[in-house]
Structure formats: structure tokens, C-alpha cells
């Protein structure tokens, strides 16, 4: 599998560190309560199909990126810088 970094272009998967579902960017309010925090930290949609996850370009430009890909075919459909995604959400 090769991932596309928005800055460095298409690179070997080995250059990246996998963090997990991109929902981790939607950090709840510290006072949001135990249910919300449990859901945020532990529970996952875990889709068989299209997903968005967070990767770190460890051996490249050191950017955090959100990759859209298919978990069944390993097809990589796009990527964005995490800081842009996060900006858009809040």
C-alpha cells in the first residue's frame, strides 16, 4: 500500500505511522462527560469500506495527514493535511 502525502506525494506505507480513525481529531470538551469521552477514546465505526484515518509522515515531512481509503480493497482515495481538516470542523 502506498499513501499520498499532500506535501511529499505518493510514498511507501513504511514512511507513515498509523494513529487510527480520524475521529480522534474531534476531541470533545474536557467536561463533556464520561459517556462522550469513552465513545471518543474507545468506540469505533470500524467500517468495512471507505474510512478516514490519521497517519503521521514519520519518515517524510512530519505532517499529520487524514487519508481516505477503502479498508476492503486497500485503495487509497485521497488525503489532506490534518490541520486543514481540523480547522474545517471547529
Amino acid at each position: 500500500m502506498r499513501l499520498t502525502c499532500p506535501i511529499c506525494g505518493e510514498r511507501d506505507r513504511r514512511e507513515f505511522y498509523y494513529q487510527g480513525a480520524a475521529t480522534i481529531l474531534d476531541r470533545p470538551d474536557p467536561e463533556a462527560g464520561i459517556e462522550t469521552w469513552d465513545d471518543y477514546l474507545h468506540n469505533r465505526d470500524n467500517p468495512a469500506g471507505e474510512t478516514r484515518d490519521l497517519w503521521y509522515h514519520d519518515a517524510g515531512c512530519s505532517s499529520w495527514i487524514v487519508v481516505t481509503r477503502n479498508t476492503v480493497t486497500h485503495e487509497v482515495l485521497g488525503s489532506e493535511l490534518a490541520k486543514d481538516v481540523k480547522g474545517r470542523k471547529s
Binding site: Q19, G20, A21, D38, H42, R44, D45, V72, H74
Partner: protein, 417 residues
């Protein structure tokens, strides 16, 4: 039919024409007392123990493909009880004891081979950790032995003892550890359950779970609706999808784990051996193939096939540890979908829906758990009380933070196990 040496002799002399089907192929009935979703090792074991221990025989196991088509037929078959943490320790200890009588119990040769598992260590720190683990295992009532470098030189002379970076300093051995034939476990449990009246229904995918006022009523399947008083979800890597049918979101992320097998060679590796550096474990099957694997590919996937980086890592680790195997040709590799939990330990619990139960989160270690999980999950489904050895496998432990079982000590986070 009961299997015995006499039966083999009789059949052999009469042209092997008298063997009968091991289990029936029934059409689904419209109603059961209990429905088990998933015909993997855990689902079949649950059905078997429901019938055997609790007399609940009006049971269907619904399998979307053929039984054994999931992880139970794709794993490296290591069976051991060398866990260190309370919760895991007593559970795997119980499971190993069940393995030790499983063949007699099932009247089926599952080729359970207690050839011994050796976990190697390569540094002082690792030795200390293994001494502690060995003591924990012995306190649990299981066997553990610390082997010196000299002991190992006699037992497994083919290791690369003087690897400059990772010299072999010793190992922790569990002689009761070993392997079993994965398919035979599936077939033996299916036959045992079937003989007690359980319907094993293949090519029957569950597509919905019917719930009314918080009580489970049955399931929708590709072969029509079926009602039941109780439903158990036992679908390993597909747990998130099936639980979503009941409106649940689980603490599970599905990852791939690969395995590799070489061409058959003469008996060379008599034990299960694991490298303490990098991730690599190996045994030799009775057909002669070297069966080995390593770590997860480490990203969410349902592909049942892996990528090259982990294949490369596993081969490198294998060559570092036992260079001799480099001559053997790898014939096949494949992957299975692992239901990873944040702390790397499983879930056997009720859900918030009355009559709906969950057995999931076995990560990459659920083959050894097959009899134990079936036994404990059947107990929970039959009696609505937790079976003692599995009592700590609660779904809410992530929320409360109590009784997390992070066996590797890496943290309770999805990408760390």
C-alpha cells in the same frame, strides 16, 4: 458414528465406504431457543457447550460462508496459557485444561500437540520480565520453566545464538503449550454440537437483528427471518458490523494479521518458538510446512491479505533467528481480520439489549481460547451469570478504566496492540 482404531481398521478393510457425514446440513427452522451468529471456533464451541453443559439443544449456528472460513481456519494454531495478568491468566489456564481433554471429549482427533512453546529472551531486562511471567504462570497452577542458553543449545541447536545484535540468552518454556490442527477443531466441535441436536447452518448471513422494546426477538438472514429468545454475536473481525445491526458501537478496530507457510520439509523444528526481538513465531506442521507469522500490519483493514512491509519484517526476523530456514521456499501467505480492542483483551458479556450477548475482541490470540470462550460464553448465555474464569472480560471496562487487561503494557489505545 464413533471414531476408534477398530473403526478405522474395519473401514479400511471394507473399502472406506462406510464413513458418514460428520454433521447434518439442515434448513433453518423459523424459531430457536438460541441463535449463535458466526460459525468460527468460538461460535461452534459455544453451541457445543450450550448443548453439553446446559442441555440447551434447540440452537442454530448461523454462518455466512462455510464453517472455519474465518480466522479459525487461518491462524498459526499456537495454544498456550502463559498470560500474566489477572483476568487473562485464569481464563487461558482454564482453556488449556479444556484443550487437554478436548479430543476425548469430542471423540475427534484435533491433533492437539503439546510440543512445548519456547519464548526466547535476549537481554537482562527481558529475562527479568520472563522470570516474573513464569512465576505468575506457576502461581496460576500452570507450568513454566526458565531455560538457560546451554539448555537451549541442546534442545534447539539451530538457533543463531550469537547474533551480534540479538544474542539468545535463554527462554521461558511452557511444555504444555503447543499447536492443534485448526480445521479439525472446527469439524470436531461442529460434529459434537450437531450430535447433540444443534443445527449448523452454512451460507446463511445475518443481515439484521430484531429488537423490540429493548428485547431481542431474532435475526434477519439471507435465508429468511428466524426468531429466538437469545442471540449471541460471535463474529470476530466482523463484530463491529454485526453489533451495528443492534445499534451498538464497539471498542473494536479490525486489523489484518498475516501468516506464512513453506513447502514441506523433514522434521526440523520440534517446538513452537518465538523470537523476543521483532515479532516472529514458528512451528512445523505435521505435513512438514514451516508455519510462521509476526505482528499486525497495523492499520484498519478487512482485506484478508496483507502488505509487503510486514512480510518482509517477518522474513527478516526469521532469518536473524534461524538462518537455516532461508533455504525453504514460502508457498503461501494470507491474512485474517482481527477484532482488536484497546487493551488487547477480549469481551464476553451481556449487552444493553435483553437476550443479546457478545463474545468478541479476541485480537490475534483467540485460537487457544476456543474451548474456554465457548465454555464461558455458553455459561453466560444459559445462566445470565458470568463464568468465573471469564468474569473480567467486561465491555464496560474501557469506560470505567477498571480492570483493563493490557497484557503488553503499552497503553489502552487501538493502535498499540
Amino acid at each position: 458414528m464413533r471414531f476408534s482404531a477398530l473403526e478405522i481398521l474395519k473401514q479400511g478393510l471394507t473399502g472406506n465406504k462406510g464413513w458418514t457425514q460428520h454433521w447434518r446440513d439442515p434448513a433453518p427452522k423459523s424459531n430457536y431457543d438460541v441463535i449463535i451468529i458466526g460459525g468460527g471456533g468460538h461460535g461452534l464451541a459455544t453451541a457445543y457447550y450450550l448443548a453439553k453443559n446446559h442441555g440447551i439443544t434447540n440452537v442454530a449456528v448461523l454462518e455466512k460462508g462455510y464453517i472455519g472460513s474465518g480466522n479459525v481456519g487461518r491462524n498459526t494454531t499456537i495454544v498456550r496459557a502463559n498470560y500474566g495478568l489477572p483476568g487473562n491468566s485464569e481464563f487461558y489456564s482454564h482453556s488449556l485444561k479444556l484443550w487437554e481433554s478436548l479430543e476425548q471429549d469430542l471423540n475427534y482427533n484435533v491433533m492437539h500437540s503439546q510440543r512445548g512453546i519456547i519464548n526466547l529472551f535476549h537481554s537482562d531486562g527481558q529475562r527479568d520480565a520472563f522470570v516474573r511471567r513464569g512465576n505468575a504462570m506457576r502461581n496460576q497452577g500452570d507450568d513454566a520453566e526458565l531455560l538457560s542458553r546451554d539448555d537451549l543449545r541442546k534442545m534447539v541447536p539451530y538457533l543463531n545464538f550469537d547474533n551480534a545484535r540479538f544474542p539468545v540468552r535463554g527462554g521461558l518454556m511452557q511444555r504444555r503449550g503447543g499447536t492443534a490442527r485448526h480445521d479439525a477443531v472446527v469439524w470436531g466441535l461442529a460434529r459434537g454440537a450437531d450430535q447433540r441436536g444443534v443445527d449448523i447452518i452454512q451460507n446463511c448471513e445475518v443481515t439484521g437483528i430484531d429488537i423490540e422494546n429493548g428485547v431481542v426477538k431474532g435475526v434477519q438472514t439471507t435465508r429468511g427471518p428466524i426468531t429466538a429468545k437469545k442471540v449471541g454475536i460471535v463474529v470476530a473481525g466482523r463484530s463491529s458490523q454485526v453489533a451495528a445491526m443492534a445499534g451498538m458501537r464497539l471498542p473494536i478496530e479490525s486489523h489484518i494479521l498475516q501468516a506464512f507457510v513453506t513447502e514441506g520439509i523433514k522434521p526440523a523444528i520440534d517446538h513452537v518458538i518465538s523470537f523476543g526481538m521483532g515479532h516472529f513465531y514458528i512451528s512445523q506442521s505435521d505435513k512438514g510446512g514451516l508455519v510462521f507469522g509476526g505482528d499486525l500490519d497495523f492499520y484498519a483493514s478487512y482485506a484478508q491479505r496483507g502488505n509487503l512491509p510486514m512480510a518482509e519484517h517477518v522474513m527478516e526476523a526469521g532469518m536473524a533467528l534461524m538462518p537455516a530456514i532461508g533455504k525453504a521456499k514460502v508457498l503461501r501467505s494470507w491474512g485474517g481480520i482481527m477484532d482488536m480492542t484497546p487493551d488487547g483483551s477480549p469481551i464476553i458479556d451481556k449487552t444493553h439489549i435483553n437476550g443479546l450477548y457478545l463474545d468478541a475482541g479476541w485480537c490475534y490470540g483467540g485460537f487457544k481460547a476456543v474451548p474456554g470462550s465457548g465454555y464461558s460464553f455458553a455459561h453466560l448465555m444459559a445462566t445470565d451469570t458470568h463464568h468465573e474464569p471469564a468474569a473480567k472480560f467486561r465491555l464496560d471496562r474501557f469506560k470505567t478504566g477498571r480492570s483493563l487487561m493490557d497484557e503488553e503494557g503499552t497503553g489502552s489505545q487501538h493502535n498499540l496492540h
